[in-house]
Amino acid sequence: MKITDNRYFKIIITAVFWLALWQAVCVIVGRDVLIASPADTFNALIEMLQTSVFYKTIIMSFVRVACGFFIGMAVGTAAAVITCANKTIYMLLKPAINIIKSTPVASFIIIALAWMKSGQVPVFISFIATAPIVWGNVSEGIKSVDEKILEMAKIFEYPFSVKLKKIYIPSIMPFMRSAIISGAGFAWKSGVAAEVIGSPKYALGSKLYDAKVYLETPQLFAWTAVIIILSIIFEKIVIRLVNAAERKKETKNEKTCF
């Protein structure tokens, strides 16, 4: 195997390229306030890692986004089931979901700040960002269920639990998976945006805003890096949860019947 085919080698080369480009832009711009160098950003990150506030901040933000995301998943899925089962409810809910989809997140954040405490706004906004995506995808999954298979289930008098486990869930899962991946990303971006505007205590968005106000550009870059890393970790955790659920289902399927 060539060294250029090695996965880690590729990662290192890519990282070195982008760090070099970043450093080059820094040198060309020549103003620390506008763009922090990779070294300054790294030092700022190391300093942050040594404070307890850093850990409180990431835990609180993580919890807020995760809460909003999981509530969005649950509500989006339930809404999809209800709207697919009842055309009148679909007709009534569809405009609301379209409005939510096309309204800028900033508008929701400002409105939500008038309704609730600043610490609750990121939860609400992550929920608002996730639910329509999950609703749309799960609805597509439900619609993709083969009518002929449903007829078969009717003939052989499958109970609802069997229809759910053996027909609906396998059809919905691929759609759910893509909803989870895009929903997780949106939940993070929107949740942090809500923290920036609402500035609750112990929040990544608040730290981002403070760093900008006090012209602490290395901190601003370091917090941004933390947000990106946490977003990736969150997405990976959620995908692992989905994979684990699917594996559990497959293991159950392997049990013998005769």
Binding site: E151, M152, I155, E157, Y158, K166, F258
Partner: protein
């Protein structure tokens, strides 16, 4: 005579009474009438597209006739062997059968007759067309409905296996209302089915 009439009253029965069905403004079924009683299997025979599967779907209650009536007596459950198998892709052959099975002993017996024991753990995407057909037949028999509707059941199954299944069916349908749709008139004859040309 009176005893015969009484017996007929107690029998399971399916009646098509002047049934009409049209698709895309084209009459598929026109004024179709037939009475099918238990133990007297019937074979719908005719060219492709003449409405045989539509009649099966009407009998199963999956399609409503545009005009006319379907009368059933003493038929609570219906088993169907669909033309397109309609197996659950997320389930093995065994699970597909057992999810429908009302009678485990019968499920075991028909699995043996259909030779499913060789591929119990296979998923439909791992099966050949014949294997899927055999699983679909076993599923319908294991459900053990009062009426058995069989739509082109033997495509892709070898002759020896078809004979085994037909031998089993001959006894099994003695107390069932049974309709079979097939292109092979010999299979209908082997089942002692009355042939109705559509």
């Amino acid at each position: 005579m009176r005893q015969n009439a009484k017996r007929r009253q107690k029998m399971k029965k399916l009646v098509f009474n002047s049934v009409y069905k049209c698709y895309n403004e084209k009459d598929v079924i026109r004024n179709f009438s037939a009475e099918i009683t238990e133990g007297n299997p019937v074979c719908f025979f005719g060219e492709s597209g003449c409405g045989k599967t539509t009649l099966i779907n009407i009998a199963a209650g999956l399609v409503k006739p545009d005009k006319g009536k379907i009368i059933t007596e003493k038929i609570a459950h219906t088993s169907v062997v669909f033309q397109e198998d309609r197996l659950l892709e997320s389930c093995t052959a065994e699970e597909n059968i057992m999810l429908s099975a009302k009678n485990t002993e019968l499920a075991n017996k028909i699995s043996d007759v259909c030779g499913i024991t060789e591929f119990l753990k296979l998923y439909p995407n791992e099966m050949s067309g014949g294997m899927k057909k055999r699983t679909a037949i076993a599923r319908a028999i294991a459900f053990d409905g009062d009426m058995l509707l069989i739509d082109e059941p033997f495509n892709g199954i070898d002759e020896e296996r078809i004979d085994k299944i037909i031998r089993f069916l001959k006894t099994y349908i003695e107390n069932k209302v049974c309709i079979i749709v097939t292109h092979d008139i010999n299979q209908a004859k082997k089942l002692n089915a009355k042939i109705i040309y559509i």
